[in-house]
Point group: C2
Chain length 458, copies 2
C-alpha cells in the first residue's frame, strides 16, 4: 500500500505533525455543504513551506493524493479527500510575515484566517476585503477564487492577491510574482493558481492587497414591492458609481426565513442591504443620491445604521442567512446554486427562476450579490433524501439552460469542486476544458494534487 508507506515516511519526518486519530480524520472528511464525507488516511500539520515541499516530494514519489485544507469552509466539496491520501492542514502556518502600509499590501502564510489578519491590520487603518462572510483562510480564499459581499466595491480574490508562494506536485517552491502594483513579467502564474482549487499547487504564502478602512461607513436596508424594482434600484446605484462596499438582494422567502430565525419583523418582500464606504465630507452627497434612487424605484422603510452598533445589528441579519437556512430543519444541510450573469440580464434571470420556484412545494430562498450579477438559491436539504438533492440538481440544470444564452457562469464565487464539473464544460466548451486538462497534466503528471476536483483527468 503506497499510501500507508507515505504515512509512515511522513511520520518519521514530521513526528507529531502527522495525525491519524478518528477525530482528526473526521474533521477533515467534509466541508460545510451537502457533499458526502470521505476520510483522508492521515492529516499533516506543516509549519513551514519547506515542510510542505518535503511532504509533496514523498507523495509524488508514492503517487499519494494530497488535499490542501484551510478553514474547511468550502461549499463544493473541494477539501473532501474522495480518493483518500494525505490532507495538508495549513492552520499552523498562520503567521504574518510583513505589513507594508504605504504599498497597501502584506505577506502572510496561507493558513491565516481573515478575521485574525484584519485584527492585525486594524491599527494600520487597513483591511483585506475579499472572501466570504464566513471566516475563511487566506490560502483557501486564493485557492477557490472566492469573493463575497465586498466584491462589488473591492473585487474578488483575483483582484486582491498580488503574488503567491506555491509548492508544486514535485515539491518545488515557486514564487509566482513580485510585490509590485503591476508587472508584465512572463505568464501570470498568480492568477493561474487563484481559483485552481489545490489541483495545480499548494499555496503556502499570500501577498495580499489591502484597502484603507473607510472614514464613513453606513448600512441601509430597504424594501421593494417587486424583484424588478429592487434590481432596477441596484443597477441605478451601480451606474452612478456610488461607493458601495456591499449591495445585497434578498427575496421574500429568505426574509421570512430570517424573521423566523432572528425574531425580527422586516418586511417579507424583496429587500436590498447596502453598505456605503466613503469619507465623512462626502457621505451626505452619496446618502442623498441613494435616497433619490430608492424613491424613484418605489423602495420604502429605508433604515440607516451608521454607528458600529447599528451597523452590526443590521448586518447580523445578512450574516445569519446561512444559520437561518440550517435552522429551517435540524439535521439539514445547505445546497446552493451560484450562477452569475451580466447585470443587464439579472432581473430577467431571477424573475424567470422565481416563476419556476413558485410552482415547487419546497422552501427555496433566493439571495445574492446583486451588484455583481451573482445570486444563490439555497435550500435546506436532507442529505439522506435523494429526491431533495435531485430537485435542486434539476433547478441548477434549468438555471444553466437559462444562463448560457445570457453569457453567464455556473459559479460566481463557490468554485467547481466536485459539484459543478459538468457545468464547467457546458459553460466554456470542450476547447477550454482541453486546455485546462493540458495544464493540469503538465503541472501534476501523476494527478496527485486534489484529484477529481475541477476537471477529470482519467
Amino acid at each position: 500500500m503506497p499510501n500507508t508507506q507515505t504515512v509512515q515516511t511522513l511520520r518519521g519526518m514530521l513526528g507529531e505533525h502527522v495525525q491519524t486519530t478518528d477525530e482528526v480524520l473526521a474533521q477533515h472528511s467534509r466541508d460545510i455543504s451537502w457533499h458526502p464525507a470521505s476520510l483522508p488516511e492521515a492529516v499533516c500539520y506543516p509549519t513551514s513551506t519547506e515542510e510542505v515541499a518535503e511532504i509533496l516530494k514523498v507523495c509524488h514519489r508514492n503517487r499519494t493524493p494530497v488535499v490542501p485544507f484551510g478553514a474547511g469552509t468550502s461549499l463544493e466539496g473541494h477539501i473532501i479527500p474522495y480518493r483518500g491520501g494525505i490532507t495538508i492542514d495549513l492552520s499552523r502556518m498562520n503567521r504574518i510575515r510583513s505589513i507594508h502600509p504605504i504599498d497597501r499590501d502584506c505577506v502572510v502564510e496561507a493558513g491565516i484566517k481573515k478575521l485574525q489578519l484584519n485584527k492585525a491590520l486594524d491599527p494600520h487603518g487597513l483591511f483585506f476585503a475579499a472572501g466570504p462572510g464566513i471566516d475563511a483562510s487566506l490560502g483557501g480564499i486564493a485557492a477557490s477564487g472566492a469573493s463575497g459581499a465586498n466584491a462589488v466595491r473591492y473585487g474578488t480574490a483575483k483582484e486582491n492577491i498580488r503574488a503567491l508562494q506555491v509548492v508544486t506536485a514535485t515539491g518545488e517552491i515557486v514564487k509566482t510574482g513580485s510585490r509590485v502594483k503591476k508587472t508584465s513579467a512572463g505568464y501570470d502564474l498568480t492568477h493561474l493558481m487563484v481559483g485552481s482549487e489545490g489541483t495545480l499547487g499548494i499555496i503556502t504564502e499570500v501577498t495580499a492587497i489591502l484597502h484603507p478602512l473607510p472614514e464613513f461607513s453606513g448600512v441601509a436596508v430597504v424594501s421593494f414591492a417587486s424583484v424588478q424594482q429592487a434590481i432596477d434600484a441596484a443597477i441605478a446605484m451601480i451606474r452612478q458609481g456610488l461607493p458601495l462596499a456591499m449591495l445585497e438582494f434578498m427575496d421574500e422567502v429568505i426574509m421570512q426565513v430570517i424573521n423566523r430565525f432572528s425574531g425580527s419583523d422586516y418586511s417579507e418582500t424583496p429587500t436590498l442591504f447596502l453598505e456605503l464606504h466613503t469619507e465623512e465630507e462626502l457621505a451626505p452627497v452619496y446618502q442623498r443620491r441613494i435616497h433619490q434612487i430608492v424613491r424613484e424605484n418605489g423602495g420604502k422603510d429605508l433604515i440607516w445604521g451608521t454607528s458600529p452598533e447599528e451597523r452590526a445589528r443590521l448586518w447580523e441579519i445578512r450574516y445569519n442567512v446561512a444559520h437561518a437556512i440550517l435552522a429551517i430543519r435540524p439535521g439539514g444541510d445547505t445546497m446552493s446554486t451560484d450562477v452569475c450573469v451580466p447585470i443587464s440580464r439579472l432581473a430577467e434571470c431571477i424573475l424567470e427562476m422565481k416563476a419556476i420556484l413558485e410552482k415547487i412545494d419546497f422552501q427555496l430562498p433566493l439571495f445574492g450579490h446583486v451588484g455583481d450579477g451573482n445570486f444563490h438559491i439555497s435550500p435546506n436539504i436532507m442529505v439522506g433524501q435523494s429526491e431533495e438533492i435531485e430537485l435542486l440538481k434539476s433547478i441548477n440544470d434549468e438555471l444553466m439552460r437559462k444562463i448560457i444564452p445570457m453569457e453567464g457562469t455556473c459559479t460566481g464565487e463557490h468554485g467547481i469542486g466536485v459539484g459543478k464539473k459538468k457545468y464547467l464544460e457546458m459553460e466554456l466548451g470542450r476547447g477550454a476544458i482541453g486546455m485546462m486538462r493540458s495544464i493540469k497534466k503538465a503541472l501534476d503528471p501523476h494527478n496527485i494534487l486534489n484529484p477529481g476536483k475541477v476537471i477529470d483527468i482519467d
Copy 2:
C-alpha cells in the same frame, strides 16, 4: 522546405490574404524599439477567427513558426519573426461585435485599435482605459499585458479584460471565460493568456471592461525642487485616494528634451503631470486637496487645464515624450528600461539610479508612472553603435541588482519579448521559469507560437 510548403498551402486557402511582397515583409520585420529587424516568410491577413484556426492547423502540421501582429507597437521585439515563418496580421479583424452599456463591457475583434474603439464608445459615455499612449490594438494590449498612464486609476490589461477568444497551437478555438463581472469557473485561462505575448495562443477576440467617461476632467502640471519632493507628493496623493486618472513623473533631463522639442519653457526640474477624473460636484474638494499636498511638498508653478483644449495642450507634452527622445538624434532608436518597484521604495530607487546616471556622459531621460512605482530610463540609441546598447544594458543590469532586494519587477508594462528574458529568471527564480516552461510545452508542443519570446524552450 516546410515553411515554403506552408506559404503555398496558405495561399491556396486564403488567396490575396497571404502576401509576400518586400514591402509587406519589411513592415512586419520590426517593432518601434532598437531590436534588430528580421523578415517573416509571408504575412497572412485573416478576416475571421476560423481563418486564424485554419492557418494554425497548417503551421502546426508543418512546424512553421507563427508570430501574431497587431499594431506593431511593441518595445521588446515581441512581434519580430526571428525564426522566420508566418506573421498573422490581425488588422483586418477590427470589428466591434457588441457594446453592453449597462454591463460596461464590449466584445471586439483583436485587431481593433484603441482610438477606433474609444470613438465608437464615446456616444455611450464609455471608454476603454488600458494600454499605452501610442495607438495599440486590443489584441496587442491583451497579449503584452500592457498598461500605461491610466493604470493608476483604471488598472492594467489584466484588470480591463473580462474574457478572450483564443486560437491554440493546434488550431482549436477556445473561449477563456464568460461575460460576467466575476467567476470561479475553473482555471483562469483569460489571465494566463493576458501577457503571454503570443506564445500560448493567438488572441482573436477580446471582451473588454469599460469605464464611464468622467463628468469632470482636469490636468495639472507642477514643478518640484527635488525628486524626493515630487515622489513624496505623488505618494501623498495616492494615499489620500484621490481619483487621479494619471500621475506621471518627469525628471529634469526629460523636461529639457521636451522643451527643446516643443519649444515650450517648462521648469527643467522634477515635474508631476496629473489628471483628475471626478464629478463636477466633487471636483473642488479634490482640487483643494491636491493644492494642499503640492504646497506641503514644496511644489510650485501649478497649472490647471480643465477645458478640452487646455487639457490637450498640457497632455501633448507628455504624449510627445517618445517623439522628443527620437528627435535628440535623427536615426536613433528608443531603448527603454521598465522596472517597477513597490511605491514605498520608488524615491530611493530613482535617487540611487540618478546618482549613477549623473556620472555617465550621455543623455538619459527618466520618467514614469509614479503612482504605480513604474519608471523608464529611455535614451536615444544608435543601433549601429554597440557601445551605446551595451551602456544601457549595463544600466539595466545595475537596476536589476537594485530592484530585486526591493521586491520589484524587470518589466512593469512592456513585457519580456526577447529583450528581458534573462531578467525574468533573475526576478522570479528557477521554479517559476520551470512552471512557465511546462505550460508552454503543454500548450504548444512543437514551439511554433512566437518561438524564442518570454522563455527559451530548446
